[in-house]
Symmetry: C2
Subunit: 403 residues, 2 copies
């Protein structure tokens, strides 16, 4: 007998028919002899509707009261889902965050799970019940309801899987799993059977929002085996684990792009110690995240500092840098929104330095110019012109995954 934690997102529980479908998936796992804990998000647009209601009354409502409001969304989902399972004749109970012992810190709206008192859940499992738990929420030491912020329900599921020692944490969503590239955009994109935690983390930062980073980090920390799969098709999905099986010829798992970035260049910065520090600490203090950084070695007349930021942060970053021009003593600021980042991710590339060369060759053959390059142990990102991004992804994908 295995213990399985299943998580269902908002689209999977959006209406009565879908809730019944989720109830079938849950009871199928139960009938197969497993203990099942299901973690549910709020139905469809419920959370957005509640946020809209709150805005109407008070656009600056406290996060404490927002959490009080938003946490009702999952409570509705879990009770309705339990009713659907009752109708099928299986023993079931729904639990809120506080009932299931999810204790968080006191940061309303973006709380972190501190511990999970599993007593109640285990008691219900021992009574052979299916347990349906609200995702996204917990309770702090003051007995105030808290929510976990973005990706909260995934995090709830992984946390429960970790403390309960679950054999598998299945994340049911509206996609079939993790792909070698975006299947809507890239010809020949294939679903991966397995990816590593680290690959998943790199992919998430590239905008492939299949799983939220917090949940993957937690899964990696506690070695929780995850599976991403569709609640609609019932096909096997993609397993996320410490070591992933991969076809021999492919050292990378996926190609992705991010178009919502902008490049900033500071030309003619004094070639002194501490100039980079000044630039990047200024931006960090003002919550501007910097991605790829490229800095030449410089010469007597000065050096150039190039970096990318999210497109939405470009205006703010430019203003900050212009304000501090005298302090930073650069001669010219250049910005460029017509860029995109294309990345390949793969745990296999650590031991295969040829990956970068293959990538550069693919782009060269396609006649695509590379602006900047950044590498980590399992990721290579290149900056290309925005107009070339889709072609770049296809070219790279063809080279690595082509038949």
């Amino acid at each position: 007998m295995s213990l399985i934690v299943q998580k269902f997102g908002g689209t999977s529980v959006a209406d009565t028919e879908r809730l019944r479908n989720v109830a079938r998936i849950i009871t199928d796992a139960y009938k197969a002899g497993n203990q099942v804990v299901a973690v549910l998000s709020a139905q469809g647009d419920t959370t957005d509707d509640l946020i809209e209601k709150a805005r109407e009354i008070n656009p600056e409502a406290s996060s404490r009261e927002m959490d009080m409001l938003l946490s009702t969304g999952e409570q509705i989902s879990v009770s309705l889902c339990a009713m659907a399972i009752e109708a099928m004749g299986y023993p079931v109970i729904s639990l809120t965050g506080w009932q299931s012992g999810v204790i968080t810190n006191t940061v309303s709206g973006n709380a972190r799970i501190k511990k999970v008192d599993t007593e109640r859940i285990e008691a219900e499992l021992n009574q052979k019940k299916i347990v349906i738990v609200t995702g996204f929420q917990g309770v702090d030491r003051n007995h105030d309801i808290t929510t976990l912020g973005r990706g909260g329900s995934d995090t709830s599921a992984v946390a429960l899987a970790a403390v309960l020692g679950a054999d598998l944490c299945q994340i049911y969503t509206d996609v079939e799993g993790v792909y070698t590239a975006d299947p809507r955009k890239v010809t020949g994109a294939r679903k991966l059977d397995e990816v590593t935690y680290n690959e998943m983390l790199e992919l998430a930062t590239l905008g492939a929002q299949v799983l939220h980073n917090r949940s993957v980090e937690l899964a990696r920390k506690y070695n929780v085996k995850m599976e991403v799969l569709s609640s609609f098709t019932g096909h096997p999905g993609t397993k996320v684990k410490g070591v992933a099986k991969r076809m021999e010829r492919s050292y990378i798992s996926s190609v992705a792009k991010d178009k919502d970035i902008a490049r900033i260049a500071l030309i003619g910065v004094p070639n002194e110690i501490g100039t980079s520090f000044k630039v990047f600490s200024l931006l960090a203090r003002n919550q501007v995240n910097v991605d790829i950084i490229l800095q030449g070695i410089g010469h007597e007349e000065g050096k150039d500092i190039c970096f990318t930021v999210a497109e939405k942060d470009l205006k703010k970053a430019s203003e900050l840098l212009i304000e501090q021009k005298e302090e930073l003593r650069y001669s010219r600021l250049e910005t460029n929104c017509d860029v995109a980042k294309v990345s390949v991710v793969g745990a296999g590339m650590i031991n295969n330095p040829g990956v970068a060369a293959t990538l550069f060759e693919a782009l060269y053959d396609a006649g695509i110019n590379i602006n900047m390059i950044s590498t980590s142990e399992i990721k290579i990102s290149v900056l290309v012109d925005k107009k070339d991004a889709d072609q770049a992804v296809q070219a790279i994908h063809d080279r690595f995954f082509g038949m």
Copy 2:
């Protein structure tokens, strides 16, 4: 400084504008130097909508899961109300049933409050906060959410007023208070400044659903001063208390009618000990409530037993009695739906036997026939033909309250 508990029903908090209005009423009381605890129902049709959602999924959902679902309605109300008060710049916090320490028995769907742990509410009041509490709900010893059934929010408010030692429990609703008769139907009907708990209880059983009996019984038991008033007009309402001031000439407080009743007559029941017992225990076992009972002293050939039931129970009652005809040995069953009950209620009538005579005289003068009569210490009810009911109420009201 006084402590005031205010309760607002579903229509009072139905939308953003009304919630803002409620926030103003609450903060006005706070600004006047009072400690304020407000108890809120779910918004408008929220509860009905949730029940409909549940029915769609499982018409026979367990009451445990129904409570889980329905309790979200008040949680939404209180958080939105707290946000409205935050927007006005006052310190406020919303609390669910379990957060505010409302402990109930384990009867889901119709729970009774066993105790209230006031620690949290008092701590928030001591921090000068306005406290907004969900009505209608609590938590049982298993940490399951329970709801209190019909009239639950009134009951929550009175229970909190009792344990907190509140100086006043205001029940805000969509009517101005308790009237001498239904103001939409009876010319000259006036709002009463005060009524006694007992009068209020008799009025509630007559279908004047201003306050639910449970809350009034609780208020009487713990001597909680109540006031029924409108959340829309801001006028003073009707106080409900142990002893009510009343104009000298009027021994009664109110005239009311109930048209949804039916009369059943068992003709020719054997004149033996135990026959009434058999009839009424049969009905009680089958959840049929009997109201007025009239039984002649009987003679050798047998006796007649007349009584009234709610119109909706007539079919069930008749079937039960027909099934048991051999056992009960009556000769004929007669039923009549064309009847209505008209009642006068007044604590003053205990010491004024003339009230009954005045009532009978008023009906005689109006040419209205009386079918049956039933009296309690503070109520006289007569059964009249349904077609005469409105005229009977007006005639009685004119006689007791006419100028």
